[in-house]
């Protein structure tokens, strides 16, 4: 029971505030007949209906596929750029400013352009996911390449290891944690990019559902979809975190 009481001590205030908010939501939702604020119970019921009726399965699958394609592209492209930057000063000087700019600039401004060029297909969402995640992958890949102990590389070199062997046996293991951190951040950003793209495109996938229920003011369903997206994002990021912890643990 020790861990239970410590859990209650640590998370007690938060859980209490959460319960208070939920109660407030339910009471206000029931007493004032506001179209914008359905009671919490209605939202949860809508969430269950949405899930049980299978209305979300197709958009969910659709979104996940776009996310996966985008992430694979980001990983390939970002790793290529990042490894180049990490291994060569020349590439770093030439491409570094763009990667740094892409990391902090609002890449979402390109979504309307993607939409016009690629149309309302998966390509627009994939491009958005890539635009959101490729630069963080590249940055971390570059850091990963610089993370290895120079003495190890020297030693491998003096023992006649080829550049490929040094890359595979020295640089890659040393940089693995940074690669994985880049992947995790890339997934987090990619999920946001995916949802952003979908809401802006407003017809397909999970984001399309947000728009669909939002425009007809079907609020309980809308809140249910938002809940679904939140859970979706949390699961995607949590999954990558778990996998990367496993991988790094194996390396050691």
């Amino acid at each position: 029971m020790g861990w239970l009481s410590s859990l209650a001590y640590r998370n007690g205030p938060f859980l209490l505030s959460l319960a208070a908010l939920a109660l407030l939501w339910e009471v206000v939702g029931r007493s004032i007949d506001l179209i914008t604020l359905p009671p919490l119970s209605a939202v949860l019921a809508a969430f269950y209906d949405l899930w049980a009726s299978g209305a979300v399965t197709a958009p969910l699958l659709d979104s996940t596929l776009a996310l996966l394609y985008g992430l694979v592209l980001s990983l390939a492209l970002g790793s290529l750029i990042g490894i180049g930057m990490g291994l060569s000063r020349f590439v770093d000087v030439a491409l570094g400013p763009y990667v740094k700019a892409g990391l902090s600039a609002p890449m979402i401004a390109f979504v309307p352009v993607f939409l016009m060029i690629f149309g309302i297909g998966p390509a627009t969402r994939i491009a958005t996911v890539v635009a959101f995640s490729v630069f963080i992958v590249a940055t971390n890949a570059a850091t990963a390449m610089r993370a290895s102990d120079p003495r190890l590389i020297e030693m491998a070199h003096s023992f006649g290891a080829s550049r490929w062997a040094i890359f595979r046996d020295v640089r890659l293991p040393a940089g693995a944690p940074y690669f994985l951190a880049g992947l995790r951040l890339g997934v987090a950003r990619g999920v946001k990019g995916l949802i952003n793209g979908e809401v802006l495109i407003a017809i397909i996938g999970l984001g399309g559902l947000v728009k669909k229920y939002g425009t007809v003011f079907s609020m309980d369903q809308l809140y249910a979809v938002i809940l679904l997206i939140v859970v979706y994002a949390a699961i995607a990021v949590g999954l990558v975190s778990a996998v990367s912890r496993l991988l790094v643990a194996e390396e050691k």
């Binding site: 000063r89 030439a94 890449m107 016009m116 809401v199």
Partner: protein
């Protein structure tokens, strides 16, 4: 890179490209060449035969000039940036005090932090229909979006920065009889400034995204309506020109904030 320096002379020619960037002049030349290569690739990748294809650099530049010469872009940018400015002010005025309080009051920390973590984890754009339903298609709604995008990072970084202030400093101040308020103002805040600034930098990046998202979803008189209008008339080049302008504005603002951050960092250390 240290490994490259110890290589024997015989292998040096293989790294001639890297030696090119060892001097400042070489770096500048390489950067100019990279920019030209990028523009060249853009020009080659573009296709101007149909209006709906990816436009070349030249066509985009012409479209940009068309938007600038009659003042449409400037007016739209001005309107849009008002949202950003108001959002950032709210973020700082609310976020920094809340961050300080969460660092100092443990109960508050346990209540607020999970919500903040939640805001960081979720795509805020999903909340826009709710904001729109409550606040309507108004300036306040757009500002709220910007604030929600950025404020978690201000709060988290402020709280971490305040917590990390060397306890020796505060203890010394206490033993010299300084009040809690004086300690906060003269000891804790100056020491926490670099951390707070880092939070503001991250928040600015997010606020810029929030600004674009707000413009495109809760359409007002700014960039959003301009893009919607151009989209309706299937004109890609001006939309691309606007997108590049916004990205460049973002890069410029981030550079300025980074510069301030470095300056304050030096001041805080001295």
């Amino acid at each position: 890179m240290a490994a490259d320096k110890v290589k024997g002379g015989a292998e040096r020619p293989r790294w001639s490209l890297d030696r090119l960037v060892e001097t400042g002049l070489g770096r500048t030349l390489v950067r100019i060449a990279a920019l030209l290569a990028l523009i060249g690739a853009w020009q080659l990748a573009g296709n101007d035969t149909i209006g709906l294809l990816f436009p070349t650099f030249g066509r985009t530049l012409v479209a940009f000039w068309g938007l600038v010469s009659d003042g449409t872009l400037q007016v739209a940018l001005l309107v849009t940036n008002q949202t950003l400015l108001a959002g950032i002010i709210v973020m700082l005025v609310v976020g920094i005090p809340v961050g300080i309080m969460t660092a100092r009051v443990s109960v508050l920390d346990r209540i607020v932090t999970p919500y903040i973590t939640f805001l960081v984890a979720i795509p805020v754009i999903a909340l826009i229909p709710v904001i729109q339903a409550i606040l309507g298609l108004t300036f306040a709604a757009r500002v709220t979006v910007v604030v929600l995008f950025g404020i978690p990072y201000v709060i988290i970084n402020t709280a971490v920065a305040v917590r990390r202030v060397d306890p020796v400093l505060t203890e010394m101040a206490t033993s010299f009889g300084a009040s809690r308020l004086v300690i906060l103002r003269d000891v804790v805040l100056p020491a926490a400034v670099p951390g707070i600034m880092a939070g503001i930098r991250i928040a600015l990046g997010q606020a810029l995204i929030g600004m674009v998202v707000a413009e495109l979803t809760i359409v007002g008189a700014g960039i959003g309506s301009l893009i919607a209008d151009l989209q309706g008339r299937f004109r890609v080049a001006p939309v691309l020109a606007i997108a590049v302008t916004i990205v460049l504005e973002g890069v410029l603002l981030m550079t300025i904030v980074e510069w301030i951050e470095r300056r304050l960092g030096r001041w805080s250390q001295s």
